[in-house]
Amino acid sequence: MKADIICSGFGGQGVLTIGKFLAQAAMKEGKKVSWLPSYGPEMRGGTANVSVIISDNDIASPLVSNPSILVALNQPSLDKFGPPTQKGGVILVNSDMTPNKLKRDDVDITYAPMSSIAIECGSTRVLNMVSIGMVIGKTKLVKYETMEQDLRDFLEVKSPELLEANLKALQMGMEYFG
């Protein structure tokens, strides 16, 4: 088993966190994981993205060029990483910020109004949890329970007041696929 993930979006959308939570949960479930951000000045203003690899085996390069799972939170992200996504790969798109669809029919692509769902959960700031939920819902990459625990561990110390909205976002994301 090996998942090559790219999460991409605008600077403030928390894509690095999406990646980190996914990698961390997988690590706890005994997988080999790696996480590599795009870094440096090119991040600024433009898009940020992160490569995450989750695998049963040792990971060679942590850099993902052809994702098997793509989370694209805005148009530039879909435009940039949609085409190199692996045939048969999973693409989760935030339709709220992506007017133009990807012209491919050899991938498993879902357009979901992630920003709207986040607002429904209380704040655009939980957009990243919606995406994580959707990744879990769609791919079963990690267990919901692991993620929930991680989220609790993280927020209970840092900002318990945000816990509820985040948990809700995680759940709604996961349940998006029914």
């Binding site: 996480w35 590599l36 870094y39 085996n57 040792d58 060679a60 390069s61 850099l63």
Partner: protein, 360 residues
């Protein structure tokens, strides 16, 4: 805390250094190394350690010289252009026989270049980018865990040989997160003991009477006969290091290897996964991964060549620097081939496989 945490290489090496007893850290920001300095800025005050953002890399390495002269565990870090600025200081540190740890998170060069991972500072690190006959001990990690582990090893080696040690990593190892498990932090008593081991030469408080000392931290010696003796003594030390401290990993090195690969650091991860693939296809390819790139595991490479081996191939994220050390190790017994990428590009396992298949 034997629990695994997910951490960037830059942060993991900083945390591990603090745990190893490093209480002084001087550096100047540069991408892709800045998380290291930022982590130190955050954590040093918590252990009553010193963090100073120096006015430059030159100042930073000279602060290291001063702190190390006081026998304390001290570290600096930078990335390629900033490391070039430390060359004079490193030569002084080596000349004055001071222990110190320097981290280079290499990026693409020459000049300002870019900020992507590279291994093009190999010559500088292993042959001595500064002036004079000196050597650094150079450790080259290939994972965040190893990077963290090496921090404490680097300090131990530096202390043992009174010699600067470089951790030669790159932007990828600095920026990536991987699970890492830390060794327990040294206690203040343990650290005090480490400091005391240098009391017979380092700068410190004095006393009147028989135990009075006059310690000089110095690399100057105007009499060439005396200076030569000093340099020869350094070389005796280097020979010891070459005898005792060579570290390497053999991956799938077997009698039936058709090809022997050599790669270190980030490059070795890619090559390793490539040879695993090739093995599935029934090809026997071995990999020697130097963990110390100086001292260099020349003998290991020489001894890993068997009758079946047709070729040695070196893989590097540069246009060919370590290839010279490999050729010196192979010493004409086999052809040595090379694949490298430059300017911050990291080759893929497929490129490595293709290169190896050319010779299968």
């Amino acid at each position: 805390m034997a629990q695994k945490v997910l951490m960037k290489g830059n942060e993991a090496v900083a945390e591990a250094a603090i745990r190893a007893g490093c209480r002084l850290y001087f550096a100047y920001p540069i991408t892709p190394q800045s998380e290291l300095i930022e982590y130190m800025a955050k954590m040093m005050p918590k252990v009553k350690g010193t963090f100073i953002q120096a006015e430059s890399e030159v100042a930073a390495i000279n602060m290291v010289y001063g702190a190390s002269g006081c026998g304390r565990r001290v570290m600096t870090s930078s990335s390629s252009p900033g490391i070039s600025l430390k060359m004079e200081g490193l030569s002084y540190i080596a000349g004055a026989k001071l222990p110190a740890v320097v981290v280079n998170i290499q990026r693409g060069g020459p000049g300002l270049g870019d900020i992507q991972p590279s291994q093009a500072d190999y010559f500088q690190a292993t042959k001595g980018g500064g002036h004079g006959d000196y050597r650094l001990i150079v450790l080259a990690p290939n994972s965040v865990q190893e990077f963290a582990d090496m921090a404490s090893e680097a300090f131990d080696l530096a202390d043992k040989y009174r010699n600067p040690v470089m951790l030669l990593a790159d932007g990828l190892l600095g920026q990536m997160m991987e699970p890492v498990e830390f060794k327990p932090a040294k206690t203040e008593e343990e650290i005090e003991k480490l400091n005391k081991q240098h009391y017979d030469w380092c700068m410190r408080t004095n006393e009147d009477g028989d135990d009075r000392h006059h310690h000089e931290i110095n690399s100057l010696e105007l009499d060439p006969n005396v200076l030569e003796k000093h340099v020869l003594s350094l070389h005796e030390k280097y020979k010891d290091i070459q005898k005792n401290e060579v570290r390497y990993e053999k991956i799938n090195v077997k009698d039936d290897n058709e090809i022997l690969c050599v790669a270190y650091g980030t490059a070795s991860r890619i090559v390793k996964s490539a040879i695993t693939e090739l093995q599935k296809e029934g090809h026997s390819v071995g990999l020697v991964r130097p963990i110390t790139v100086w001292p260099y595991p020349s003998e290991v490479i020489a001894n890993s060549i068997t009758k079946k081996t047709k070729k040695v191939i070196v893989f590097e994220l540069s246009l060919g620097q370590m290839v010279e050390d490999v050729k010196l190790a192979v010493n004409g017994k086999l052809p040595v081939d090379f694949l490298g990428r430059a300017g911050g590009i990291v080759f893929t396992p497929d490129e490595v496989i293709a290169k190896i298949k050319e010779s299968l």
